[in-house]
């Protein structure tokens, strides 16, 4: 496959349209409607004689892209990685993995990590956002994964062969997918991540839940909700800053073949900005895969 676009809002679909018309084979992977579908009325976008709903604009955008030959796959993206030669990127979903010459991140902006006391303070001292990077440090140890969905399960499964014990803390939610028996599930709301003094440093020691239970954990892996553009960028090593993905004016990130567009890059959270950035990213990605062939 030439190009995978993650997200089917105005940025992702515009990127797909421009890349497709530039001759690339394009697949959009989407977990469904995003921020646009929630907009009741759009009347500040070019070419609208009468206001339309966000949901209508989104549906029309997708229909138009399909007409031009863009493929759509409905799935949640749980991982993003690259090969050793930097020549291909791999997008993982719960049931499949897809390889592409270029990937465009357009999955919208994610809300900031919830304010669980201890989470920010213990980052790099037992709190991790990347299981594949840090599983090695928890050989035979007890780890907690924070999250309830496919993303959290994906992280937990990476940890299983390394850690002695893997727990899933769903923070008051029911697990969104069947959890293997080897993973212990805690559904209570999380009150705080507690620290201990060990080896001369303050580091993660336990997860305290609102029922008062304190459960020992050597590491905490954060994977709440679904993996957003910034989570995926962080995992592959793309530069992020203040919960946004950093790009150049051509919407390229520092990772070869990885582009980003729309709300995830920060700035105006508007359809017109998302569409523009999608167009730039789509053209740049199409050119990138063409020159590599």
């Amino acid at each position: 496959m030439d190009i995978i676009v993650i997200g089917s809002g105005p940025a992702g679909v515009s990127a797909a349209l421009y890349a497709r018309r530039a001759g690339a084979a394009v697949t959009v992977i989407t977990r469904g409607s995003g921020a646009l579908a929630k907009a009741e009325k759009i009347e500040n976008y070019y070419g609208l004689a009468a206001p339309v709903t966000g949901a209508q604009l989104e549906a029309d955008g997708i229909a138009g892209a399909k007409r031009l030959g863009v493929e759509f796959v409905e799935a949640e993206v749980t991982g993003l990685s690259m090969n050793d030669e930097f020549t291909a990127l791999t997008v993982q979903t719960p049931g499949a993995s897809y390889e592409a010459g270029a990937v465009i991140l357009a999955a919208g902006s994610t809300r900031l990590a919830p304010k669980i006391p201890g989470l920010k303070e213990l980052e790099g001292r037992g709190v991790s956002y990347c299981a594949i990077c840090d599983a090695f440090f928890y050989r035979g140890k007890t780890v907690a994964v924070l999250g309830e969905g496919e993303y959290a399960l994906h992280e937990a499964e990476i940890l299983l062969p390394h850690a002695g014990r893997v727990m899933l803390f769903t923070n008051g939610k029911e697990p969104a997918a069947p959890v293997p028996e080897t993973i212990e599930v805690h559904t209570e709301k999380i009150a705080a991540i507690e620290s201990v003094q060990a080896d001369g440093m303050e580091r993660v020691g336990a997860v305290r839940t609102e029922d008062g239970a304190v459960t020992h954990a050597d590491g905490v892996f954060v994977a709440l909700g679904t993996a957003g553009s910034v989570d995926l960028a962080r995992k592959i090593g793309a530069e992020t800053e203040n919960n946004r993905v950093v790009t150049d004016s051509g919407m390229a990130t520092n990772v070869p073949g990885l582009y980003a567009a729309g709300d995830c890059t920060g700035g105006l959270l508007q359809v017109v900005k998302a569409a523009y950035e999608g167009a730039v990213a789509g053209l740049a990605a199409a050119k990138y895969v063409r020159t590599k062939k």
């Binding site: 990685s81 690259m82 050793d84 930097f86 980052e123 790099g124 001292r125 037992g126 991790s128 956002y129 990347c130 594949i132 990077c133 840090d134 090695f136 440090f137 080896d199 001369g200 440093m201 580091r203 590491g219 962080r234 995992k235 592959i236 090593g237 793309a238 530069e239 992020t240 950093v246 520092n254 990772v255």
Partner: protein, 102 residues
Amino acid sequence: MAVIAVNKENFKAEVLQSDKPVLVDFWATWCGPCKMMAPVVESIAEEHPELKVCKVDIDENMELAQQFQVMSIPTLAAFKGGQMTGKTVGYQAKENVLKLFA
């Protein structure tokens, strides 16, 4: 200057006893963000002769990772006069890494 690969045998001589401030990149082959960090670290080595730039493969040097409390990679650590004076975790742009020596 090139990036010097250090290990548990020569860490003391190369890093702790260095006359110059030292940047140490704790990395591993399986870590995607580490791969993206490598060219940044190499360019710092080339552009900043006032620094010594080293890298530690934590897969082969787990003791060093433990000793310096590295629990996430990539970790970039600054050493001055035999002491670790600061560190960053995850991919960082060059200017953020250089702030460790400001």
